[in-house]
Symmetry: C2
Subunit: 275 residues, 2 copies
């Protein structure tokens, strides 16, 4: 079975793929859109994409594609703590240049400024590309800020561990697929995500939509508003809520339809946590 993921090898998404599908053939793809399309077109059986980061917020390429273009359901969510390492080809090297993705640079900047005040920092398209680049230039005095998985993938040494500034950084990843598969990770919750638009300019429409969940005590864990790409001030919403009582959730969804709100289920899924 083929599983597509946001590459390259050594990325955070690759790590999720390795943990969720240890025995399958993993296919790295260049962009989130390519990953979702590969699944839509049947080139892969499952697909893994990032959906939200605790610091940066929702991954817009994922939400927009799943709402506007796809009819795809998430079958699992995997939450991964984001930890950044400083990697080089050998310990004890004099580091003159550090490569990474802009977000990882921001996360590791404090450590780098304190420990390598004279280093040149250069942005790259991803942390994994930065790690690969450093591995490909073993003679140069280069280092990369990247995850542990990139060190394993490209045979780099961790020259400084956990250099990220904020400890509580997590990313949520979605596994897209035809039906749930057993995943050997710690289960933490069951959730449903859905996207909806509101009837034209109805004052209080969002309030009514939320009321079907609120008065039933169904816990909302997330709400995201995104422009509909038609006119300013029209939005679609993505909400995540706890799926602890299927009957109650069923009534809530029926009532949503009854008050004229069209929704699209993005997934009913189990949430897993990586250690």
């Amino acid at each position: 079975m083929h599983v597509g993921y946001l590459g390259p090898k050594g990325s955070f998404t690759h790590n999720i793929a390795l943990k969720a599908f240890p025995d399958e053939e993993l296919i790295p793809l260049g962009t989130i859109t390519e990953v979702i399309k590969a699944y839509e077109e049947g080139d892969v059986s499952y697909a893994i994409v990032p959906v939200e980061n605790a610091i940066e917020g929702p991954v817009l390429e994922t939400s927009d594609y799943l709402f506007h273009q796809a009819h795809i359901e998430t079958i699992a969510e995997i939450v991964q703590p984001i930890k950044q390492q400083l990697l080089a080809t050998a310990q004890g090297k004099k580091i003159e240049k550090i490569f990474s993705h802009p977000q990882a640079i921001a996360q590791g900047k404090k450590y780098v400024l304190e420990n390598y005040p004279d280093v040149i920092i250069e942005a790259m398209a991803s942390t994994a590309y930065a790690a690969r680049y450093v591995a490909e230039h073993p003679q140069a005095n280069y280092a990369a800020i990247a995850p542990q998985a990139a060190a394993d993938e490209y045979g780099l040494e961790i020259i400084a561990q956990d250099i990220h500034e904020i400890d509580n950084n997590y990313t949520r990843f979605w596994v897209l697929g035809p039906k749930a598969v057993p995943i050997d990770l710690k289960e933490t919750d069951k959730k449903i995500s859905l996207a909806f638009t509101l009837p034209d300019n109805l004052p209080g429409a969002l309030y009514k939509a939320l009321s079907v969940f609120a008065w039933r005590g169904i816990d909302l864990t997330k709400i995201e508003s995104r422009p509909l790409k038609t006119v300013l001030g029209e939005y679609f919403f993505i909400i995540d809520f706890a799926n602890h009582n299927e009957e109650l959730v069923g009534f809530a969804l029926e009532e949503l339809t009854a008050i004229g709100i069209h929704y699209k289920i993005l997934g009913k899924y189990t949430v897993y946590q990586l250690g």
Copy 2:
């Protein structure tokens, strides 16, 4: 008086600054953060930044800075239709390379592919930089996708007009300042924007927050959720609502406080529309 704006000259924000403050000294700054900081530190008396685009959504650098770091109020909102022009140093030139900002490239791509199928397209940091670059290389067969204001600023010819694909594209700009000033543009509405966080993990807390507006019939024109940058699943919200009945709005805000929701007013302002 000095007015800071997101530069360079010829940008959409520059056009807003020219229309709102035709007689003042306008200071272009390089990033949104620099514009807001210049106002905070008293280097400029007013500041103009983009806050939301109909297609791309909220400008995260603006929302995050105003929520997390600043105590600043918006005194006016100006809505500008986004129209893109193809600019070059002379009419009738053979165009071999087109420069622009990635968003403007996306907006003009259909026109360019149909009319210049062999052209090379290159991304730049802003449409105005692209226009300036084209003006600085009059001998080269270059063109830029940029607004009318950039043509005026850099003395370029419009070789194809309104090449943007989507007609209903608008951007909202905020004028930050100590108090409202007369602005000679068409008034379309009065609004209030506020940011709030919710008491810890209270199920239905967002619903309660919205209820103080909904049952009073106060029309919400926007809701944006952004991560609090602490842990996954904690958000702050920015809502915009109509300020048509000050007494009613006052009661709603009092009730918000009474139910334990802390808010920060981002502005009580008049909305203006550019033609």
